[in-house]
Symmetry: C2
């Protein structure tokens, strides 16, 4: 639930005057996304999204994010396309915040994930990985294995209050992953946050991918591992191998995994589970229970992590 | 900031199948309004608002609210028009809540109120009052003078913590208004909440009125008094008589105030200030400081109330 920054009438008018997208007829804050303020702008030309980048986004990363969306859209990926002003610029300032206008994607994110969603997600992820191969800018993944210990240290003294024994379990897991993390897998641009609220469907077909504000350079198979966590567990936290099989088969139709990637997948899935567990744990401990942003239960990911620990090969993921 | 109820994919599909408004292509929660959950629905036919009525709205009032919007829209008032399903019904259930679809109004509410807004607001309010004259349903105003003591009693023991001396000042004011409140003014349907976020403008012209969920039967001049509070004070809490003059002159061009209404206006304005002071005070005391809904400062209305207490005639309101 977002919209942190109110936009004044005169500010909006001055901002829009830089673009050739018609006259504004409506401007409404959207109650989705937790990182930025998003507005749905309707003009005489159509619908757009206006995003104001809030403090969790580093302004120096914005050329990477906006450039990536331009790059991917030009290669046929259905993602928000930054709208460039008359001066050619996509990034400017609104209400004192860095801000951009992007195209409006049709579709709705699935509230309940079905097997039918997982194939299209796997396929779209692989297409994204191929389309990103020749993107010139780089952005390291701050939330990969090298960043996890800092995150853990910020929560470790309170972790046992969330769940008894959690500190020890995370410490052991982290040490294992730091030692075993694969370094030689094919890398490229990854989405890094392809959860169900970032994937739109229309009439049972995937219609678009949104929210590229965690995108970075990392092992492509790690992005697959994130999707296994995001799409293949049931509300009761059990793993659904049918969903995973659909996701992986569809991915491999577009971009077959290399042998090293296949071998690494259970480990990468453990890492992905730990990454979301650690950020959720951090937010859980450092966000007041009744704050504006709804906290997500970190223990969900502890269950996922324990499943991946029992997996030894792709056979455990339905292949 | 709203959206309290999540709507599932299958629920939405079943709900929309009752209407002839095309196929859905987008459905996004809107971060405006604090009483209900609002979604912006885009279909192949156009844009609509889907409202889920949350617990602050009494379901038995919904036929009044929706019927009133139908009635006003048919008489040329630019307000959300309830969309009726194939069965003729505008009110049904979505995600376990009473819900309705209304038309989407173009325009943006003014973040900064100028004198140029106040004339159009006065004119629109008068047109609303005339258009509502022959509306058949009735709804008493639960937030008029007879309801204020209950509200006050729920906050009185904590009022002095908000501002020293507040309990005594409110007690005195309430006793005075209860004794002096006029009973014989022309009555009709009033909007009762025509604040700037409920009035849309497009190219400096008023393009629509929204949020009829406080509408009720009461003295028409009381609605004018609410608007004097809502539109004619500056951010420093000083009264702007130029704004009030613009609002009142434009109102009177459409519906001249009767002599009794003109005499009563300073008193009605005191009452309106007290009404918003009391509901804000209640929310201030009973809502945690960091809750999902942002609290509004009740003392703003104490300043307004004190101004109205110094006024003796319409001359003090710029006429």
């Amino acid at each position: 639930m977002a919209v942190y920054t109110e936009v004044g009438d005169a500010e909006l008018e001055a901002f829009l005057s830089e673009y050739d997208i018609g006259e504004p007829v409506a401007f409404k804050g959207i109650a989705e996304g937790v990182e930025n303020s998003n507005y749905l702008l309707t003009t005489t030309h159509g619908q757009y999204i206006v995003t104001l980048y809030e403090k969790r986004v580093d302004p120096s990363d914005l050329p990477f994010f906006l450039g990536l969306m331009d790059h991917l859209a030009a290669r046929g990926i259905n993602c928000p396309r930054p709208i460039h002003g008359r001066d050619g610029t996509a990034l400017r300032t609104l209400a004192g915040k860095p801000a951009a206008i992007t195209s409006f994607l049709h579709g709705m994110w699935p509230r309940r994930i079905g097997v039918n969603h997982c194939g299209p997600v796997g396929e779209a992820l692989a297409r994204l990985h191929l389309a990103g191969r020749d993107f010139a800018l780089k952005r390291p993944n701050a939330l990969s294995v090298t960043g996890w210990r800092t995150l853990f240290d910020a929560s470790r003294t309170n972790a046992d209050e969330v769940s008894r024994g959690l500190t020890h379990e995370l410490e052991t897991e982290l040490a294992f992953l730091e030692a075993e993390w694969p370094r030689d897998l094919p890398e490229g641009v990854i989405h890094a946050d392809l959860f169900n609220d970032n994937v739109f469907f229309l009439h049972d077909r995937l219609s678009g991918l949104i929210d590229f504000y965690f995108a970075c350079n990392d092992a492509l198979a790690y992005d697959v591992a994130i999707c296994l966590n995001a799409w293949c567990f049931e509300p009761d936290r059990s793993f659904n191998a049918t969903k995973a099989r659909a996701l992986l088969l569809a991915y491999e139709k577009v971009r077959p995994l290399e042998a090293a990637e296949r071998r690494a997948l259970p480990l990468l899935a453990r890492g992905a589970a730990l990454r979301f567990l650690l950020t959720r744990l951090y937010d859980w401990i450092h966000t007041p229970a009744n704050a504006l942003v709804k906290r997500k239960d970190p223990l969900e990911y502890l269950a996922y992590l324990r499943f991946h620990r029992t997996a030894s090969s792709l056979a455990d993921y339905g292949l």
